[in-house]
Subunit: 303 residues, 2 copies
Amino acid sequence: MMPAIKQIAIIGMGLIGGSLGLAIKASQGEKVEVTGIDTNELSMLKAKQCGAADRITADYKTGIKSADMIFVCTPVLQIATLIKEIAPHLKPGAILTDTGSTKTYLIQEITAVLPPGVHYVPGHPMAGREKSGIEAAVDTLFYDKWYILTPARDGDAAAVEAVRQVISWIGARVTEMNAAEHDWCTALISHVPHIGAAALVNLLMYLQDQENSIKLAGGGFRDTTRIASSNADMWADICMTNAEPIADSLDKFSQIVSQVAAAVRQGDRESIHKFFSSAKQRRDELLLLEQAASEQPLTNEHL
Amino acid sequence: MMPAIKQIAIIGMGLIGGSLGLAIKASQGEKVEVTGIDTNELSMLKAKQCGAADRITADYKTGIKSADMIFVCTPVLQIATLIKEIAPHLKPGAILTDTGSTKTYLIQEITAVLPPGVHYVPGHPMAGREKSGIEAAVDTLFYDKWYILTPARDGDAAAVEAVRQVISWIGARVTEMNAAEHDWCTALISHVPHIGAAALVNLLMYLQDQENSIKLAGGGFRDTTRIASSNADMWADICMTNAEPIADSLDKFSQIVSQVAAAVRQGDRESIHKFFSSAKQRRDELLLLEQAASEQPLTNEHL
């Protein structure tokens, strides 16, 4: 039977944690009590002020002790350490979940320290904004977005169902995936494009006359390179926690780029043309798949 | 003395040629006669209908014979061939210019066939839209955009001045650059990012379960990969006409990506962090330069 979720603790009241609190309160009102936990006093005050949490505390232990479900929304490298700290203080039957963007690493670390009777359901919401912090939190952040869960095969089905229910409250679409598959896909579809964008900006160190040549960017430079201005700490952590899929995919990417360079050098127009037309074709195919997926009814319509 | 420009011929009435005609007519009205030249009958009819040209013809020779200035706005690989064909029919003193995005190759090809008394001023407007064709032409396409000229050092100064004047009519900002520098900068700042985006899409052939994994793209897939759906023919031609700068820059790009892969594999967080933070810093610096450049008064305010 699915446990009733009356008390939710959110650790890390930034963009994700704050938006989660706002969305849960907007959907459930007084039916669910949200405790916001953060060590940053200002973030906590703002979280309370904007209604992302009913109560706030900097003390993990008291914040989580009566929670039915705990969302850990801190930067990815802090998640495992933090869970090791709080694990002994979780109540029996508590459901632990996180919003970290790499999963295999976290599952290994967390499973090792989980007390008996506490269930861990790894999660990854496909939601974000350019801005970060509690100031950027909105109750619509997850609406109509995919929310991936990567539960263990032998995990507790009722715990997964409970997390799915909370996800339905925030209006997201839930889907399940194997954790390793998740990490490889994320590397290909998100991490490598991000690293590629930063590499393209770093490549501009070879511009001889930066002042004059920036005019050639055609005004779109701000937009096309925006991704490269993201948080260096966060991205270094992502690379550290999803190393093999990222390194392997970067090598594949580098190979593709080298092959194009060779074709260009040889004046092999046929190969170059094929490269561009297959990119167009692959994009069109993936857009169709994406559209088909997004036309599936929302999770909360199922419930 | 700068020659008076009363008759302008535009060869290739697509997005660029059509927008050029519209902008010249909007600025100069009856003072300048625009002849639109294209082999596509429908494009010509539309060009006439929307007012991008006063008269239209499919016959290059009659279209250009009395023109004071000729803009060649066809795809880049057709420019040189076309100019070879029309060169003997240009009137003495005519000023020839083009809008091709690679310059060294064109200058070599065109200089070789230019009749005496005809001046060639290579150009490259930093303007574009996602859509193409005369249907997408607008008279504001060049407004406040950079328009690069790469004239020869020993070229005719009055001819350059005349092209600058027409560029001021269409509201663009003009700047001059060495042709080789232009091509290297364009490779780094425009061609390689474009090829990189197509390579990122092609990398997705390694996705095992495309249907499920596209959900991980987080809804931004359409936007972030839009550039990869561009015209394969046009981009193959760009690669063919700017081969050395593109191949060399792609190799440098591939090297940067491989270095990141190695750092990720070694768990070298310091190098990874430095990679991301230097991208952010370089972007910020270039944005400042871009802003400073765009705050210079518009060309037409000088005249």
